[in-house]
């Protein structure tokens, strides 16, 4: 197995690195790029802790061969805040107790990010549907739901409704 020079576009930055074809994007992010916010929680692709956005869509980096994701824009949890300003979802998870142990939090926030971009005012059922591939063992999801709702509220405050 030969190592291969690849280029990855992560959080709007271009990275060039050498990797082997059997390296998972999850491991490349964590070990080669030091982006350890993306977590490994299982080995059978059932927990969602490794969620990243691939061209804006939440997918699991534990299923991705890094060499195959060179043409995509990859967003990890480290790319969610705007500089030092937290994303409304990050603020929501912070104040509403959506992060207890915090291990599922990066995946939850990224999945919710995609939801809110496509549906800025989701119903409770829509939030639950969207997050149903991200497991949490701490919160029972109640405070995660509240955190997403809080983010919706914060986004609305930040962008006052246009007067028609």
């Amino acid at each position: 197995m030969k190592s291969e020079a690849i280029r990855l576009q992560v959080n709007s930055k271009a990275y060039g690195l050498e990797t082997e074809p059997n390296c998972l994007l999850l491991d490349v992010l964590r070990q080669d790029l030091g982006l350890t916010g993306t977590k490994r929680g299982c080995d059978d692709s059932s927990c969602g802790a490794c969620t990243v956005l691939i061209d804006g869509e939440p997918q699991m980096s534990c299923l991705m061969l890094a060499v195959s994701y060179q043409d995509c824009e990859i967003t990890t949890i480290e790319g969610v805040a705007d500089g030092s300003e937290l994303d409304p979802l990050q603020r929501g998870f912070s104040v509403e107790g959506g992060a207890q142990c915090g291990f599922c939090t990066p995946g939850m926030i990224l999945t919710a990010k995609h939801l809110l971009l496509n549906n800025p005012d989701p119903t409770e059922q829509e939030i639950n549907e969207a997050l149903s591939g991200n497991l949490c063992r701490c919160t029972g999801y109640t405070q995660i739901l509240a955190s997403v709702r809080k983010a919706v509220e914060l986004m609305r405050e930040r962008q006052p409704m246009e007067v028609r």
Binding site: P21, N22, D43, M60
Partner: protein
């Protein structure tokens, strides 16, 4: 859990992909979304020398419908794309319903139709780590000789666990394959073989490129019922897809019932044709439900028991048929 060593080829065209399969033959394995193959490779179930990554084949990522050709879906269309396609929801509700239940939103964003149709058969004794399987001494499907589900049996009873296949079976779909020998189109019902070891009627070098659903099935009512412990993530423990075409007065003109996750292949239930021309009668529904549990033969391949899965097939068939048949009728 590291992956075994392999090379990855990422062709941009189907022709190039076919060439790879020609060159590497049995050493190559196809991957698209990776949702089935990658976890299995971590468990040591597969160790191909070359992975043929189809994700770059834009030409296989489409969903289109016309009244002549019917519904055509490329093998690389993701399950999310299927679940979100308006045309599928409107004209092929059974496929919409089935696609929505596949795994979780994250996995639907990655998994493809081709992958879902070619899903490896699954079993409690097979989908385990290398350590675990070694501790047992392997099974008939991998590294062993015994089927632990049916120790006396000479065959493998691992079950086909795709959700979209029964929906497409019920819609009388065909599947398109390309190989160095050319293109062939085969009825989905002929694509599957009821053997956990070799469950696809597909040569190793054939690439599934898409499916076609005849236009005649457009507009049939349909539903999919799935047994699972969680309402997300889980593979089906049993699944029932039902479609029906009705006359304005509620007479059934045509119906089909297909099962998944209870046999090594998805199955069309026999005898459903007799519903044609009949008005709703609970006895008829019961007869088909009975027929279904003669077709579905669950064994201990998953966490739930065979008794319960049989029971649920019966309940699902009963409920799905009743729902579809009585839909739009005043219940009297």
């Amino acid at each position: 859990m590291s992956l075994p060593a392999f090379e990855v080829t990422r062709p941009r065209t189907l022709d190039a992909a076919v060439e790879v399969m020609t060159r590497y033959g049995a050493d190559a394995q196809i991957v698209a979304g990776g949702t089935d193959l990658i976890p299995s490779m971590k468990q040591g179930l597969f160790a191909p020398k070359v992975l043929l990554d189809l994700k770059g084949l834009r030409e296989l990522n489409f969903i289109r419908f016309d009244r002549e050709r019917g519904l055509e879906i490329g093998a690389l269309a993701t399950i999310s794309a299927l679940a979100n396609a308006e045309i599928i929801e409107r004209l092929f509700p059974v496929l919409h319903a089935a696609a929505k239940t596949v795994a979780s939103p994250l996995l639907r964003n990655m998994g493809t139709l081709g992958g879902n149709l070619c899903l490896d058969t699954r079993c409690l004794y097979y989908n385990q780590s290398g350590f675990w399987r070694d501790s047992l001494g392997g099974c008939i499907k991998k590294d062993g000789t015994v089927c632990h589900v049916a120790p006396g049996s000479a065959m493998c009873w691992a079950v086909f666990s795709g959700d979209t296949a029964p929906a497409l079976l019920a819609l009388d779909a065909t599947v398109k394959l390309t190989s160095p020998r050319g293109v062939r189109e085969v009825a989905l019902s002929d694509f599957y073989v009821n053997d956990g070891l070799v469950h696809l009627n597909k040569a190793h070098d054939e690439i599934v490129t898409g499916v076609r659903v005849p236009a005649s099935g457009a507009g049939w009512s349909g539903t999919y019922k799935k047994l699972r412990i969680r309402q997300s993530i889980d593979y089906p423990l049993a699944g029932v897809a039902v479609v029906m075409r009705k006359a304005g007065d509620g007479t059934c003109l045509e119906a089909r019932v297909a099962l998944t996750a209870v046999n090594p292949s998805p199955q069309l239930v026999n005898g459903v044709a007799m519903l044609a021309g009949k008005r709703y009668q609970p006895e008829l529904v019961e007869e088909i439900a009975h027929e279904a549990i003669r077709t579905g033969k669950p064994l201990r391949t998953s966490a739930s028991t065979m008794e319960y899965r049989r029971h649920m097939i019966r309940v699902f068939v009963r409920r799905a048929l009743t729902e579809l048949w009585l839909d739009g009728q005043s219940s009297s």
